[in-house]
Symmetry: C2
Subunit: 124 residues, 2 copies
Amino acid sequence: MSKVPRISETEWEIMKVVWAQEPCAAGQIIAALQQADASWHPRTAKAFLNRLVKKKVLGFRKEGRAYLYRALVRQEECVDAASESFLDRVFGGSLKPMLAHFVRREKLSPEEIRELRRLLKNPE
Amino acid sequence: MSKVPRISETEWEIMKVVWAQEPCAAGQIIAALQQADASWHPRTAKAFLNRLVKKKVLGFRKEGRAYLYRALVRQEECVDAASESFLDRVFGGSLKPMLAHFVRREKLSPEEIRELRRLLKNPE
DNA sequence: CCGTACCGATTAAAGATGTAATCTAATAAC
DNA sequence: GTTATTAGATTACATCTTTAATCGGTACGG
């Protein structure tokens, strides 16, 4: 349905900040990015903001001198799209092997295991 | 450790065939690709094979007129790398929300749920 | 007012990706 | 043997991605 535009690796970094803090100004976004990874150059971040606006993934409203950005696509939609793409690409679309991989691969705390088993019992 | 080179979306299609059938000739690979998606052009596939060889993801041995390709990186390593990248990018590296997403999102058959719960009980 | 600093917009350039035509050497068919 | 196929290698080129520098306007300090 919704056909979210493709969001690249680096664009995700930007979007995660916006989703978490919207509406937010460029400076705020840049600060958050640099906190996670000091090598972020402000100009680079600005360029990405621009591209994301052009792609209609971000919108903004002028607030005095600066812009306040907000997401135009819901995070959940993007998570769905990325998850499906990953699942298809790496696991041929088969959910069970994928879940098995993660359960086996990454170590889960007993607490996490309990929670997951509960989740499997009543899927929300 | 192993530092598998980055494998793109389309390259994965090629690699999945090779992993499944290696060692295999170009024609065999192209046939398998076309079976999954008829729009694969042989020249395109050849170009990808070449790139993958250059990237040292594929190797080959000359078998008479043609090559027999084989993978130089193990599928499991690539699955690991892609999974980690996906997990970080989309779920900030948190396993539980990711698993919860899939369990909630995609519908699992009762049988699959049983198997997963068993898996959670004894990993491996 | 005048310049400077800051904003977003535009432009740039290098690397990756997707797609395929062309080139060259070997082989298979006359 | 000469030609037509076939294989892989090389080249081409448009698009996307990452990374910034530069441009043009505006607000602010002096």
